[in-house]
Amino acid sequence: MNHQVISWNAIAPRIKEFRETVYLLKRNKLTRIALLAIYALIFIAIFAPWLAPHSTHIMMDTNPQDKLLAPCTQYLFGTDELGRDIFSRVLYGTRISLQTGLLAVGISLLIGVPLGAIAGASEWYVDEAIMRVTDIFLSFPGLLLAIAIAAILGPSLQNAMLAISISWWPWYTRIVRGQAISLRERQFVKAAKAIGTPHYKIIFSHIIPNCIAPVIVQASMDIGGVILTIAALSFLGLGAQPPTPEWGLMISTSRTYFLSAWWYSFFPGMAILITVLVFNLLGDGLREVLDPKTRKKQ
């Protein structure tokens, strides 16, 4: 058996499972649309520089004599207060929102999942300690954290993302801990213990992989939630800084021109709505598909 065959054979069942999941997802009409939309968003995010009709002045080239032009053939979504093409900026914004959304959820997962697994699979005092810290972070309004981080490090998109991750991970800790507690009693965990597998290995190779399904569901919905929260922070001036084409910042700025240029807030708003919506729909679909109770055998 050569090495390549081994690795391919090892991946094959995973791919099969993934395909199966995607197949099940596609059976639901709403979810199918959401999936298509997410493909489209990812496509836009990757190819934004080629798709944007006015890529030179999307970020910082100001062009104020063309300010606040209504949508027309040259500017599909109109222009903003400094004459920049809103269409191009919305396209670039896709990239920013997806990036920050994924990253923030990723960081939260990196903190939250191991902590939850450790809490759920360890002695009561470790569990208590982790869960009390989790509680503290949960009952802490994320906004204050964002303010604090913005005040200490200066407001920026990265810092907003950091603040969100710091206030978001406890949710995953909770979910994973609940799962881990039930897994702890499973015989394969006991078997691993009986074999002599070290504690940390049990946590990382037995417990975490088996509580990942609800986490994936939650995370896919949270991507939407994070994008929304980042937008809200930008709206409060604690997130992205101009001239970044971040949707929340665009809406925040557009408030001033709300009555003179409806398109300015409308298109970024719709962009947020659609993006968050499709991730939520995906999460909903995943929940049905990944839930062993409802997962239908082929």
């Binding site: 509680d135 929304l228 709206f235 409060l236 809406i251 807030s265 947020i272 709505l273 919506l277």
Partner: protein
């Protein structure tokens, strides 16, 4: 049961203490000069120095922390740097407006959400279900501040059906006696049968109330739907069906009752979220509540005020959690 509650309460206190300490540390770490803010713009160096002494900022970190905790134990959150008024007094003044909004939007959210959830579950996989699901997902995906502005434009700017913001119109505020029992205008005016005020207050709360209700609607609808679908597969429901009970009665009185446990948990979650959402919505609707208060405090880095609201929301969160735990504990299905 009582011991369970006491235990949870004490744990809640522990968490609160943690939150308070973390908040305090954060506020001290943040580079800012409360003294300079205290004396206002255009102050002289001497004035700032005097304020520093007055505010006790020259004490050591631990002395300051001790004073803070001691004051807090007496319900003293310090004075707002902006307005020089005790934060506690201000919170008390702004709280009823926020509570009114939160209660109303939760109320709307739960009722509409339950209704949508039930309709969805009854017509699973039909187009009504798809529509309801789409709607409930959409409501949690809308940037609330954005839809708030849009609705203002439609209902005030274009249609002129509803007022733009605030709790009462100027005329009512100036020339009518405003009942003040709980501070929640709808409730107060109703029990004193002051219909002018009630009607006016209702018109004013509709828009912000609806915008804030959007999230709970979606959350409750989704939760109800999935809980119902699970329950409808249970044997006792099948049995009820076989007795010939109508679908409607099965749904509303058998299934729904049993799905209330998870729904209640979600509702407490939604209240918590709504409370945070006020930070964004209230300033848009000029709603004189906590959210508006903290929005101004953030802009001017009024730390005592920010800390006050933080601690307040932490307290609410702890209590909401406690409530959720108790609902779950009281649920005969869960208690074994």
């Amino acid at each position: 049961m009582r011991i369970f509650i006491i235990k949870r309460l004490l744990l809640g206190l522990l968490v609160l203490f943690g939150v308070i300490s973390v908040t305090f540390v954060i506020v001290r770490v943040i580079p800012s000069d409360p003294a300079a803010q205290w004396v206002g713009p255009r102050a002289t160096i001497e004035q700032i120095e005097a304020a520093r002494v007055e505010l006790g900022l020259n004490d050591s970190f631990f002395v300051q922390y001790g004073n803070f905790v001691a004051d807090l134990a007496q319900g003293d959150l310090g004075k707002s740097i902006r307005t020089h008024q005790p934060v506690m007094t201000e919170l008390k003044a702004f709280l009823p407006a926020t509570l009114e909004l939160v209660f109303l939007s939760t109320f709307i959210g739960v009722f509409l959400g339950l209704y949508l959830g039930v309709v969805s579950a009854r017509r699973k996989d039909q187009w009504v279900d798809h529509l309801c699901r789409f709607f409930s997902v959409a409501t949690v995906s809308i940037p609330a501040f954005w839809i708030g502005l849009l609705l203002q434009y439609v209902f005030y700017g274009t249609l002129d059906w509803l007022p733009l913001g605030e709790r009462l119109s100027m005329n009512v505020k100036l020339f009518h006696e405003i009942p003040d029992i709980t501070g929640m205008l709808l409730f107060d005016s109703l029990i004193t049968w002051n219909l002018v005020v009630f009607w006016d207050a209702l018109k004013h709360i509709l828009l912000p109330g609806f915008v804030m209700a959007l999230f709970p609607i979606g959350l409750v609808a989704r939760m109800t739907r999935s809980a119902l679908l699970e329950i409808l597969n249970e044997d006792y429901i099948k049995a009820a069906r076989s007795y010939g009970l109508s679908e409607r009665i099965i749904m509303w009185s058998y299934a729904l009752k049993n799905s209330l446990g998870p729904t209640a948990t979600v509702v407490t979650l939604a209240i918590g979220y709504t409370l945070v959402n006020t930070f964004l919505i209230e300033s848009i609707f000029s709603w004189p509540g906590i959210g508006n208060y903290i929005a101004s405090a953030v802009v001017s880095l009024d730390y005592p005020a920010i800390m006050g609201v933080t601690i307040f929301s932490a307290v609410s969160y702890v209590f909401l959690n406690l409530a959720a735990d108790m609902i779950i504990a009281l649920d005969p299905q869960v208690r074994t």
